[in-house]
């Protein structure tokens, strides 16, 4: 038994190290000054010419704060629209009987099977037709980044499941009190599904924050770059200056790591299996 636990610890320590080593090595490189060979053999882990200059340099030459703000705007807009549109659509699917319900239900389910990567070209053509690109203006650019991900079948089904667990009496009482369908939804049902809304918000946020393919297709102006696009662009800007590339990459992941650590129970408690996205 004792041996078993020791073995478990050894494996878990090894895997934990493998999981964070690429980041640690990036941090190490980002802290090495110009006087130190970053290609030294054998590699040196603790910088001998320790400096924060690379951070200052990349911060000054690249608009990382701007990329961060763009990412925030896009993620906030995507989360907000997902919460509203998913719960609005989920309510009748969970609670009402109407003509065409089955067809609508399966149509929404079908969108789960359509990968964005297969339809991205027409989505791009439509976005241009609707003038939702950054060469129209910044607002249009943001909207164009958000709209293709404004609602997902995943969110609709998550909210539908949440509404299904609420006892019908709650609504009936509200209707007797004279509430209309929208008031029932807004004042009675929505406050009761806050935990599901939180799960949807967090997973939508993570998805939007890391999205790379769509912004790299539609964006033309550097001033609208989101963090993943901006960070990828560091490679072109500083070609062989790995100190700067490393420092910029590390700065870019600080916000999401803070977010993850403060919300960790949603990710690693093992209770949100239903929330995983395919």
């Amino acid at each position: 038994m004792k041996n078993g636990k020791l073995f478990s610890h050894l494996i878990l320590i090894l895997i934990s190290l493998l999981s964070i080593f690429p980041f640690l090595w990036l941090i190490s490189t980002s802290l090495k000054g110009a006087g130190e060979n970053i290609f030294a053999y054998p590699p040196v882990f603790i910088p001998s010419d320790f400096t924060f200059e690379n951070y200052a340099g990349v911060w000054k030459r690249v608009n990382l704060l701007g990329y961060f703000i763009n990412s925030m705007i896009v993620a906030a807009g995507t989360v907000l629209l997902n919460l509203i549109l998913s719960s609005l659509a989920a309510y009748p699917l969970a609670r009402m009987e109407f003509k065409g319900k089955k067809i609508i239900f399966f149509a929404i389910l079908a969108t789960i099977m359509i990968p964005f990567q297969a339809i991205m070209l027409p989505v791009y053509l439509i976005t241009i037709k609707l003038h939702l690109t950054d060469n129209v203006n910044n607002l249009a650019g943001y909207i164009g980044l958000i709209m293709p991900f404004a609602v997902s079948a995943f969110g609709i089904f998550l909210m539908r499941q949440a509404f299904l667990t609420i006892p019908k009496e709650m609504e009936e009482a509200a209707i007797i009190d004279g509430c209309n369908a929208f008031q029932v939804f807004w004042k009675v049902l929505l406050p009761m599904v806050k935990p599901s809304l939180a799960v949807l918000a967090i997973f939508t946020f993570i998805g939007s924050w890391g999205e790379f393919l769509w912004p790299s297709i539609v964006l033309t102006k550097e001033s609208l770059y989101t963090l993943p696009v901006g960070v990828n662009n560091l490679q072109g800007m500083f070609s062989a200056n790995w100190r700067y590339i490393a420092a910029g990459s590390i700065i870019s992941i600080v916000p999401i790591i803070v977010f993850f650590l403060s919300m960790q129970k949603y990710f690693i408690s093992g209770e949100n299996e239903g929330a995983v996205k395919g």
Partner: protein
């Protein structure tokens, strides 16, 4: 009377404009020829598909995608399960392990790819390890024999924590009494998990095989950031090739024919997934 439709309207509009119309448009585009002018398409029947079948790069790309699945999916089905089993016991520091192993899932794939590109550098730390073990240094991203596998490793590395957490929540639902019975019988680690754990979570294993297959079909960012599909198409997969033909060569019809192939494959996987493993999630 119209109330349910009013509630559905906003979501339906978005899904219509950004899912259903593009879906059908992809199919229409795949039968169109844009080679004369990007502004006027001509119906060309199955020409794009026929050309696709004549193109050796298309087969190369399909093969690469298939290798991606064949390497990544088994590893992502087995290793996270093993780790979840280790984490499903009383251990000190368990939360720390979970946080560290989950970290790659949270961080953007672009940064992950950059971090690995640095490890894979010609005079990088990985080649130092390889040469100090007495081997020749490897062109991880520049040697056609290695590039695809080097990229696959990043995908695996980034996926382990994600699938581990799915397994872990499944393991929590295995009745403890069954393990206690095993302990009384004096069963070892291996027998215990082969007779109790595996049969119990078989549906979850199958679920992870299908969802990791679907995401392996869709890889893009790793390749874009690290190799751009090179060298010599060695690490080009289907989504990257669609991207290249559509947005760099503006070959809309041809790219769409490939997109239809991707659609068919992913829809098949998804259908299996929904019908067999996720019925409960969608209340079918």
């Amino acid at each position: 009377m119209f109330t349910p439709y009013l509630f559905l309207l906003p979501a339906a509009t978005v899904l219509l404009i950004f899912f259903f119309i593009p879906f059908f448009h992809t199919i229409v585009l795949s039968f169109s020829d844009y080679s004369n002018s990007i502004y006027s398409a001509v119906f060309c029947g199955f020409d794009n598909y026929i050309e696709l079948l004549k193109n050796p790069v298309f087969y190369k790309v399909l093969l690469n995608t298939f290798i991606y699945l064949a390497v990544a999916v088994p590893i992502l089905a087995v290793v996270p399960l093993f780790l979840a089993v280790l984490l499903n016991q009383k251990l000190r520091g368990i939360t720390l392990y979970k946080i560290l192993i989950y970290l790659p899932v949270i961080v953007s794939i672009v940064v992950a790819a950059i971090a690995f590109k640095w490890l894979y550098a010609d005079q990088g730390i990985l080649n130092y390890i390889v040469t100090s073990l007495g081997f020749n240094s490897v062109g991880w991203l520049t040697d056609p024999n290695w590039a695809l596998y080097s990229v696959i490793i990043v995908t695996i590395w980034k996926g382990i924590g994600y699938y581990m957490m799915i397994y872990l929540s499944a393991l929590m639902s295995v009745p403890k009494e069954l393990y206690e019975a095993c302990d009384i019988d004096g069963a070892g680690f291996l027998t215990k998990h082969l007779t109790v754990t595996i049969p119990h979570i078989m549906p979850v294993i199958a679920l992870i095989v299908t969802i990791s297959s679907i995401s392996a079909m869709k890889v893009f960012a790793e390749i874009y950031v690290m190799t751009k599909g090179g060298p010599l198409n060695a690490s080009k997969t289907i989504v990257y090739y669609i991207y290249e033909r559509a947005f760099e060569n503006l070959d809309l019809g041809y790219a769409s024919a490939m997109a239809v192939v991707l659609l068919l494959i992913v829809m098949l996987f998804s259908l299996i997934n929904i019908l067999c493993f996720e019925r409960k999630k969608y209340q079918l």
